[in-house]
Structures are given as structure tokens and as C-alpha cells.
């Protein structure tokens, strides 16, 4: 490999920033006559890390120029193909001829273009949304897939079930309707289902350390994906016979077909992760046994697998189901007798899934009954519309008083009127009027009111529990009070979503990697996201939002076929062109935040390692001016050899690109 590099000696760098100013002057990226503090572009910056407490302190400083990454994310993300890595030097440059600044239209948006676009800023998994939307607009789906999979191992799943906060934040909504981001993602991600076009990330150097993950839901599998990518040996244990957690046994097939789930999980298997189903923590395995078997860290992502009870008379009668069990049984292929009439109790998404599933099991009349009024229901609007579309009745403002019995089985339910659900403080505190009673006949009742975690193993293994009944973990690092044990996903946060579980799994992977390598877990974890808001909207593609094809309600009865269909290629390209390009794709993709935006030229720009000087046999300017000669310029392998021969330590958490940091 040809790669020029700079070796930065932390024993020498004093954080003086002489290099920063010299670089600016040399590259003429400052207008001295107009410059104002905090508005001047820069190609490198200084970072400082303080450690310890008075009087036992240490402090290091180093520079962060473009790292001229081995696999530059900026390169992948650029829709114009303007960014390339020079084969003869390894220097990554942005070609100003090709760069359009992601369709930068006007000078007035310069400050905004430097920011994160709201779609990415609102994505819990931090996917470079604008990046893949822009790539899709160019038909560059393979590149788009890579960009998505950098941040999310389950794009095809998310493309189907995500509640897409990206779309809710999409600025195009100010013009007409948001870009159909999720449908675009779904199209791109379906490439991943085909083993030919599937993207399996490269595994870094294999490591000896083993990590155990309890729970094969999205949180657990995501951390497995990223830890495997880092080279760890990862084993995932799950008590269910299938992998996927709620994605497998909660979300019904008509929204998430099984083969999609299988395909995405298989990528993780292909990466060398062993998923062992039918193994329960607390039964076959324990924390002690894991420790004894050489696992250096454990991630608990056990989700919430128990349905809440109503505690009213008759709740245990035959014909009364837990929604969760019902969905699980359907998913696992068990036969279920639901009868003609079914009542679902609950107002959330799980209740709606239960109702729609009951319908598919053959129930003719399905009624959903909940305490809340329509506008108070926790289910997403889209879900409610789906339910109504399929002829589900919704009865609001009723609370079950008792289950009625006839011939040893359920015959009906008596409800009392719920006068209010929340108190003044907004807390759940239902009030009833027990004079106003309603009775309904039914063959079966499905209780889908709340989700609870299992606590036994937690209590037995000394894992702290929060007052809400979740596992306790540090919100920033996900570390529990047991040093080597981390916890995340729904089991910690309470019921959330797939993408939030993915985000949690990513954080866990970072923590576990740092923990095993002995690094500070907390450092640089909180990142401020500065999102574009004042976006230029004068020139845009006037096309209307694409309509997503769906099965007609009539076609849905009695089967679990997927309701939503994908867009066609042309539709995707057209839809992606509706994007207003709030920010710049490369700026948002660079993990080191080194790319600048030039408002006047309407282009991105960054450090090119002073390539012209290198060709002329001179040093990059920062290396030349460094006050302490902290920067050694040279071929990567050579400077590395120099560092090793000199007995220097390579600071691995910094030396991730092609720059080498030593102490």
C-alpha cells in the first residue's frame, strides 16, 4: 500500500496552534480583512485531553487534520464522485471541479451547509441520510448501501418498520411533504437481501478477546455486528428458538417478512458471530459461567418479554390471551383458535398489531378497546389508520372491569367508563365512573397493555434495577454496576423502537471495545449536533411525494403477506431528487469532522496534506512550522517502523486513519 502519513508526537505537541494558523495562511482559506472569530475555516484543529484529578494530572494535545483514511467515508458518501484517494500517495482529495457542494445554491446558506441535516441529526442511529438519499438520486445504490450499513446493520428491516424520525424532521415538509426517506432506504437495502450485492463489512484484525451477548434482538445483534467488525469473537445467546428478538416474535410478518429478517441476520452470522438460540441466561448459562469461559465482557439486551396484567376477575379464563404471547406463537408457527369475535385491550402499537393479527387468524369482528381517547392513544397515527382501514372497531374511553365466564370459558367483558387517563402532571392515573358500565360479548380477549422485563436473573446476579423496573446502566456508557457487564436496548430504556435499540447496541459496542482495551469509557461520548434549519428552499424539484404501493384492505384478510410494497427504481430516483440537500454529504460522513464548506465557492474543501508541496519534496506546512517539531512526515510504514524502533507507544485510539499518533 502506498500511503504518506504524518506521525504526531504527543510528547512534543504543546497545543500551540501555530500549525493551524500557518495552514490557513498558506492555503488562503482566510480573508484577513473580513475574518471574524469562529467563522474562519480550518484544515486542522488541536484536541486536548486532560486526565486525573488535582494534583495527579496529565494533559495531552494533538492535531487533527484530515486522516486520509484507508477507506474514506467521505469518498463513499459523495454523490458526485468528487472525492478520491490518490493511488500514488494515499492522499484523499476533493476535486473542486466535480464538487457541487451537494447542490449548494446560494451564498446565504453557507453556515447552514456546514451543519448536520435534520434527517441525520434526528436519526437515532446517526445514519448519513442525506448522503444515501443523494447517492440514490444518482442511482448509486451500492454506495448508498455501504453508507447506510456503516451505521445500521438492519437497513432492510428499518426500511420497513422504522418510525423514521428522519422523515418527521425533513425540511422538505415546509415545502410540501417530507422526502419518503424510509422507502428510499428500503429500496437500497433490499440489495442486501441478495447474496450477490450483499455488503459484508471487512473485519479488522482478529482479536483473541471474547464477548458474550445475551439477547438476539436488534440491540444485541447490533453490538455483535460492530464488535465482530472490530475483530472480537462474539457469541450471542437467546432463549427463543429464533434470532431477532421482537423483530422476529413481536413485529408481525405482514409488516416484516421473515426472509428479510433472516437475510440481515445472516450477514452477522457470515461475519463470524455465533448465535446460540434456546439458551437462557439463568438456566443453561450464568454470568459466572460466562466469566469462567473467558468472556471479557457481557452485553445484556434482553428486551421486555412479559405482557402486563390487568389484575381483574376472570383474567385467567380460557380465551384470554396475552398479546405478546399471541404474536410470539403466531411467529413461531403455533396453531391458535381465536374464534369469530375478538377484543383487544390496549391503545399502543402492540395492541394494533395484535388486532390486525387476530383478523388474519380469522376473526371476523375485531374491536380494540382502550382507556385513551383517540388523540391520546400511544399508537402511531399511521398504525391507527391501518387498523381502521382493515375494519377494526376502536372503542375509546373504556376500562375492563371483569371478564365474564360462560361454560368455563370467556364469554364477554364488562367495561367501566374512563373519565380521564392522565392527571394534571401528565402522569398515567386513570379515573373511572363505575356507574356507567358497558358489556361486550366476545370469543377471545387479547391483553396488550404493557411490556415488562424479566427480573429474576437480574436480581439473582446482582444487577441493579431502576424504579421503573428496567435494568440500570449508565446512560452514557451503558456500563452496569458490575464493571464488565453492560446493558442496553428495551431492557434498560423501557419499550422503544428497533432503531433506538440499534443505537444502543452501537454505544455498547464502543464501550465494550474501550473497556477491553482499557480506555476511558466516557471521553468524547457526548457530541453536540448542530442541525441545519435555515435551508435554502427557492429551487427544488417540484415533484410530489411518491405514493407507496400497498395491498388493498381486501387483499390482506386471512394472510400475513407484506402490506407495503417497495418503490420502483425510477420512483426512488425521482423521490430522492426531492431532497433539499440541507447540508453536505461528505461533511456529515467524516468521522473526524474535518471537512469545511466554502460558502462563496459553494464547495467543500479540506486538508490535502499539502500534496503540491509533497511532490516538490517539501513538508506539509503544519510539519514545517510546528514549534516543537512534533510532526514527522513520511511513508506510513516507515514512520511506524521508526516509532517502533524508538520504543514509542502508538496511541491506537487516535491512530485510526492514516495518521500515526505516538507517545
Amino acid at each position: 500500500m502506498k500511503q504518506v502519513s504524518m506521525m504526531i508526537d504527543l510528547n512534543r505537541c504543546i497545543g500551540c496552534r501555530t500549525c493551524v494558523v500557518a495552514c490557513r495562511n498558506h492555503k488562503e482559506i482566510i480573508d484577513h480583512n473580513k475574518a471574524m472569530p469562529d467563522e474562519i475555516p480550518y484544515y486542522l484543529r488541536v484536541e486536548t485531553r486532560e486526565k486525573g484529578a488535582f494534583p495527579n494530572l496529565s494533559m495531552d494535545s494533538w492535531i487533527v487534520p484530515c486522516q486520509h483514511c484507508r477507506e474514506p467515508k467521505c469518498e463513499t458518501s459523495c454523490p458526485e464522485g468528487a472525492i478520491s484517494k490518490a493511488p500514488e500517495t494515499g492522499v484523499v482529495t476533493i476535486d473542486p471541479e466535480k464538487c457541487t457542494g451537494c447542490e449548494a445554491k446560494s451564498e446565504s446558506i453557507a453556515v447552514e451547509k456546514r451543519k448536520i441535516s435534520p434527517c441525520k441529526g434526528n436519526c437515532p442511529a446517526n445514519i448519513n441520510v442525506q448522503g444515501y438519499v443523494n447517492l440514490a438520486a444518482q442511482g448509486k445504490f451500492q454506495e448508498a448501501l455501504r453508507l447506510i450499513k456503516d451505521e445500521n446493520p438492519f437497513p432492510a428491516i428499518c426500511g420497513r418498520v422504522c418510525h423514521h424520525p428522519c422523515e418527521s424532521a425533513c425540511i422538505r415538509d415546509d415545502v410540501d411533504e417530507p422526502v419518503a426517506i424510509n422507502a428510499i432506504k428500503r429500496f437500497i437495502s433490499d440489495l442486501d437481501l441478495d447474496p450477490e450485492t450483499r455488503y459484508v463489512p471487512e473485519i479488522k484484525e482478529k482479536k483473541d478477546e471474547k464477548v458474550a451477548i445475551i439477547g438476539a434482538g436488534p440491540a444485541g445483534l447490533t453490538s455483535a455486528f460492530y464488535l465482530a467488525k472490530e475483530g472480537y469473537q462474539v457469541n450471542v445467546f437467546d432463549r427463543l428458538p429464533v434470532a431477532g428478538g421482537m423483530m422476529a416474535v413481536g413485529i408481525p410478518e405482514y409488516r416484516l417478512p421473515n426472509d428479510i429478517l433472516e437475510a440481515e441476520i445472516n450477514v452477522i452470522r457470515d461475519m463470524g458471530v455465533e448465535i446460540k438460540t434456546g439458551v437462557t441466561l439463568g438456566e443453561e448459562i450464568s454470568l459466572d459461567s460466562l466469566k469462567n469461559n473467558g468472556f471479557g465482557a457481557v452485553f445484556m439486551a434482553t428486551g421486555l418479554h412479559f405482557g402486563g396484567r390487568l389484575d381483574v376477575d376472570g383474567e385467567d379464563l380460557p380465551g384470554v390471551f396475552s398479546g405478546l404471547d399471541l404474536l410470539k406463537d403466531i411467529a413461531l408457527g403455533k396453531k391458535i383458535e381465536i374464534g369469530e369475535k375478538a377484543i383487544v385491550i390496549g391503545g399502543g402499537n402492540a395492541a394494533i398489531d395484535s388486532a390486525l393479527s387476530a383478523k388474519r387468524l380469522g376473526a371476523k369482528e375485531v374491536t380494540l378497546v382502550c382507556l385513551e381517547q383517540r388523540d391520546e392513544m400511544p399508537a402511531w397515527n399511521k398504525e391507527i389508520t391501518d387498523a381502521l382501514e382493515e375494519g377494526i372497531e376502536i372503542a375509546n374511553g373504556l376500562g375492563p372491569l371483569r371478564f365474564m365466564e360462560k361454560d368455563g370459558r370467556l364469554s364477554g367483558i364488562e367495561f367501566q367508563l374512563c373519565t380521564s387517563v392522565f392527571n394534571e402532571k401528565g402522569e398515567f392515573d386513570p379515573q373511572y365512573d363505575d356507574c356507567q358500565l358497558t358489556a361486550m360479548e366476545t370469543d377471545s380477549a387479547i391483553i396488550a397493555i404493557s411490556l415488562l422485563g424479566e427480573r429474576n436473573f437480574a436480581e439473582n446476579s446482582g444487577i441493579a434495577i431502576t424504579s421503573e423496573g428496567g435494568l440500570w446502566a449508565d446512560p452514557l456508557t451503558l456500563q452496569t454496576r458490575i464493571e464488565w457487564l453492560f446493558a442496553g436496548g428495551d431492557s434498560v430504556s423501557g419499550p422503544k423502537t428497533v432503531v433506538e435499540a440499534i443505537a444502543s447496541g452501537k454505544e455498547a459496542a464502543i464501550s465494550i471495545d474501550r473497556y477491553i482495551r482499557g480506555f476511558d469509557l466516557r471521553e468524547d461520548r457526548v457530541k453536540e449536533i448542530d442541525m441545519a434549519s435555515d435551508v435554502y428552499k427557492a429551487e427544488y424539484d417540484p415533484a410530489k411525494r411518491a405514493q407507496i404501493p400497498r395491498l388493498k384492505p381486501g387483499e390482506r384478510a386471512g394472510n400475513f403477506n407484506e402490506i407495503e410494497k417497495g418503490l420502483t427504481e425510477e420512483m426512488v430516483i425521482q423521490e430522492a431528487k426531492r431532497c433539499l440537500n440541507c447540508g453536505c454529504s461528505c461533511i456529515q460522513s467524516c468521522p473526524y469532522s474535518v471537512i469545511q464548506f466554502d460558502g462563496e465557492a459553494g464547495k467543500s474543501h479540506k486538508c490535502d496534506l499539502c500534496q503540491d508541496r509533497i511532490y516538490a519534496g517539501e513538508l506539509p506546512v503544519c510539519a514545517e512550522v510546528c514549534m516543537t517539531d512534533a510532526i514527522t512526515f513520511g511513508e506510513y510504514d516507515l514512520v511506524k517502523q521508526w516509532a517502533v524502533c524508538d520504543g514509542r507507544t502508538i496511541v491506537t485510539d487516535l491512530s485510526k486513519g492514516s495518521m500515526l499518533y505516538i507517545k
Binding site: 512534543r12 500551540c16 480583512n33 480550518y42 488535582f54 494533559m59
Partner: protein, 713 residues
Amino acid sequence: MEKSGWIPTMCYQCKAECAIIARVEDGVLKEIRGNPNSRGKACVKGMSGVSLQYSPDRLTYPMKRVGERGEGKFERISWDEAVDIITTKLKDLRDRGEAHKLTASFFPHSITDPKWRFLNAYGGFINTALPHCDSAKILAWIKTTGGVPNHHIPPAWFTVPEGGIMMLAGRHAFGGLEDASIPKDILEAKERGAKLVVVDPFFTAEAAKADQWIPIRPGGDTAFFVGMIQHIVANGMYDREFVANWIREGDFKKLQDYLADKTPERMSEICDVPAETIRQLAEECAMAPSVGVDSFKGVMLGNALDFSHAWCIFMAVTGNIDNPGGQPLPDLVPLSPVEPAPTPPSLHDLGWHRTGPDKDKFEKYSFIMEPTWYEAQAIRNGDLKVLMVAEANPALTEMGDYSWQKAVCEKDENGNYKLELLVSFEIMLSETSKHADLVLPDKSYFERWELLYMPWWYNFGHGVALRQPIVEAPGECRHANDVFIEMGKELSPEYFQFDDLVSYYDIELSGLGLSVKKLQEMGGHWSPGSIGFRKYETAGGFGTPSEKVHLYWEDLEEAPWSQAFPRVDLPLEYRAVLDDYPFVLVSYRTIFHSGSGQWTFNNPQLRDSISGFQENPLLMNPVAAKELDVSEGDTITAESPTGSVQIQVKLSERIRPDCVALGHGFGSTVGGVASACKGVSDNRLIPDAGATLDYQDLIGGEAHVSTRVRIVK
């Protein structure tokens, strides 16, 4: 003059004046580097010189005040009118027999700076741009060795041998304020096997690189050094040869008597450094092939003279005077005098601008260039009538809660300003020029000729260096030196018989067989290239009356307190109000700013968060903050006995819990950049002379960086 290419010249973003090269393209300044033919480095301030040069705030024509002082309202006038106003006033002052009531405040770029010559010829005095921060160090070295190492003369770090010790006692050496090559020289000496010790209540950039950080109690330096001296002397670890041959008869015996009760244990109580550490470092210093000490904050406290004295004794008994790695005693190659040379006014008879309860006693602390110490004080006493300021910003540099700004606006009973004329030479409007009667647009250091001739050899050796114009000055800018020469020709023509500034320098250089042109052709500097070690051996002794090192200062035996040997107690200003003001304010410096000048504080690159230092929150140790229930980001009031400021708190482990730290020099509200950034002047908390004169005057030191404060939520 449309130059192109790399041109050697001298930086003046701070008083180190490093040798640089500057790239000019068709008459436009583009880039700056350290001069590879000199010490090779320039710092971030130096690099930011390009932004200074093209600042939109550059002044381009002379202006006269309209309205009251301080309102900052001016009208454009001609240079002829401006010069006429000054010379008319100066003639009047001289006719009144009050020529000595002229003070010019500037930084002399050479000991023969033409502005200084003007003062000597006219009969006025110099104030070296700021209340003289290193006077105690200079005075102590003169008394001890007859030499003049000021704060620009640190140990020659590039000469420190393996095993040598480099000690920074309250010195921000990485700030590049002595030369931009110093950080590299220190780190390279470290790599050679020298040891870096940082003595500072603040965990500085230097401490981060140090082998040992000693977070001393502020003001404890004297006790710390005396404790080390005691351990070394009592255990016979001193440099016997140096003591026997070079210390004045009897002084060492007196020292031993003085040290009898100054054990590390006792000193430890004062300075809060464990006795074990004092002994350990003392032993290491005694064994080391060299010890070099640099200090700055230590020589700016009320007991600065005591500390400087202890420092001198320490260097003498460990044999570290003028040796490789130790304290150099600089000298200068003589330049040719420009005849006739004016005789300066008598300091003793006329120069007592600084008043106090006992002028005669203060005389003991005098040294070569008695300045007008505190301008505010002198204005109020009627000792300062005309003030001309160039490249200085006393409105912010003088201690006291805007005391200078108030004093220049004070009027007598007839409604006339006590200070009759205030002239400011500046390249951009400053807090000082805002108060001036005349604001005169100066040339930047890229636009003028200047000969640098000073004993700060770290950058240009015992020689001379040339600053040369590399770009055109905008508008009607004139170099202050040229204006002073013009005024000299009118007011004291006999001393200004040369044509202009360059011909003045030509005469001076002729003794070395040089001229400005030749020097320019040589690359801008001339130096014999040597420092010279143990020069006292060949010179047959030191510059003291006995030609030996004086450890004992008999002339200070009976000041109100005997200072014949150092007083080890904490400075009085730290003890007097201890109960009411529990914190010591540590005012620290960074590489990004120099003094309180507009050159750095109104420079966008030096106030940018990425490349500079934007604002100065008050740094508090989290332990102390918790006790006061203060959190990160809280706005609090910091009160000293004489001033108070509102400021945001930033929690930092880097500061002692009994101290709070504030970056020095902030507070400018003039200029596009400076006014857009926040920042609080530390000098608003530090008392001015009037508040502490009664004891400061008599002990030869000023509390420049020190005061006690309390935090009010």
C-alpha cells in the same frame, strides 16, 4: 515597492521579537515562518501577523479628540497639525521647567531607541510600556552579580546537558515570550536526558510535559527556594569551588547563620510543598551538572525582590551562574555612539514620579531606568503632564479597577485635565487611544525600519537584527520613530543632526563595519554567534563593587524590614486579608496573547476558538466550587479588596483548590474582533499602586499578578 518572495525580518507580535521570514506576493503579505537562518521558529501570534496587517481596524490618518476624553469621538486632522499640537505643548512644558513631566510609554526595541533618545534630549522619562514586571529580577541580579538578566534572558535551554535540571517557577516558557524556539529547546533537552520541573499553582502546558509538577502555594517560592538552599548548605552539597572563589568574603558565613532555622520542614509550612519534595529536589539540583531556573510570576509579587534574591543565592551556591544550562549573564557588542549623545535627566532629582511615604528609602531599589511606575498615580500627584504612548496599552495594563482610565479623565479645580496631553501612536484603535487627545496611525512591523539592539540574545545573540519594510503602509501611517525624530529636530536639534531613522542606524552600525543596507543584504542579523560561558573568569570577576557575588545586601539591612537576606514569608498582600478573601487569583498567560495589546486581542485568528484563546472564564477547582455550591457555567462575582468583576466559572482540575485562575490581558472592548468576544480584565481585580503603596513601595516589588479574591454567587 511591490516586493515578492521570502524576506527576512523581525516579528513584533510580542516582545520576544523572533527572527522571521515573510512571504510577499506582489506587495501583499501572505505567510510567515521562523527564520531558518536564525533560531527557526515563530509562534501562533507570529503566524497571525498576517491578520494584523490586513485588519479592517487599521488606522490610516491622524485624528484629534472632539468631545470629552474617553468618549472616543475624533476628527481627522493633518500630520502637520498633529505634530504642531505636540511640539507646542512640549515647548510650553519645557519653558515651565517641567520637561521631566513628560513620559513616553513604549517598548524600546533597542537600548538606543530614537524615542528614548528624544526623551533624554528633551528631559522626559520612559515608562517601558508597562509597569516594569521584571524589575525585581533585574535589581536582584545587579545587586548579586552586577549583571542584568531581565525576563528575556532565560537559561540557554539549548545548552542544557544530559542530567541537567530545568526549573520553571511561574514561567510560561512555552508561550514563546522569550523566543519561539524555547518550547522545542526545552523538549529536546528533555529528550537528551534533562529533567523538567514546573513549580506553579496552575497545571500549565509546561507542567503537562514536566517530569515533576510542584503545585506550590502562590507566593511560597521564596520559602521553597530557601528551603532547598538550607538543605544544600547544611549538608555540604554546595558548589565548593564556586563558593570559595567567587562569593564575597564573609557572605557565605552570614548565609549559613541566616539559614539556621530555615529547615525544609519550616519552609514547607509556608509554601505547601512537602519537606520531602524540597529535600529531594535540592539534592537533585546539587548533583545535577546544571540547573537553569526561569521565573516570571515569581518576580511580580509583593515579595518579588526577596524571591529574586533567593533565586540568585540558589544559583550561586549550586554554581549555576553563567555556565551551560545555568543563568547566563548577557553582554552586548558596542555600537557606535551617535554624537553628541544627550544626557538624560537626573532620575534622582527629577524622576520620582512614583511616590510613597518615603522616597529616600525607595531609592535603594532603583536601577538603571527608573520608570514612571504607575501613570494613574503620577497624574494624580501632578508629576505627569504629557503622556505619549506607542505600542502600549496602559488603559488595560495598569492595575486597579480602570484606575488609569479614570485618572486620565480627572480634571483640576479649573476644569482642565490634570494630564494636559495624551498622545497615542497606534495601528488600530485601543482602549488607550480611545482616551487620547491625538491618535496617530503608526506603521505595523511589516512596514518600517527598526534596528533591534538588546541583550536578549536568545533570538539574535549579542548582536543586532534588522526589521525592514516589506509591504507598503496604508494611508498616512507614519512610524512613531520618524515622528519622534521630526519632533527632536524641532525641539532639540543639536541631538538630531542625522537625516532620518536609517541614517541614525547607519551611524550606530558603522562601528561594526555595517550599515542598514549591508545588514539587509546579510539576511537581517549580525551576531558573533557565541554566548560565552563563565565570562567572569576572563573578565577577572563580576560587575559588583567587590567583583565577587554578593549574597548579603547590606544596603537593605534597615529598610522597614531587613531584606539583607530574603524574607521567606508569603507576600503581605496574601496575608493581610486572608479571612475575607479566601482565594488567590492566579493570572495566567497563554501563547495566544501578549500583554493586553490590541495586536493579539483584536486579531481574529487569536480569538478564534480553533486557533486562539477567545475568552477567559474563571477557572475553579471542582472541590472548591462544590463547597461554594458553584457549578460549571455559573456567573459569579469575583471580588478583591479593590475591585470586582462578573464572570463565568469553568471547573478545572488544573488549579489549586485555594486559587482561582484568570487568563491575563483580556478586557478590550475596542475593535471589531475584540468587541465581538467576551473577556474580563484581571487588572480590574489587582490593586493599583495607590491601594498598596504603603508597603509595596518599601519592599521593591509590586503585586502585578497577585491579589486575594472571594467568590460571591
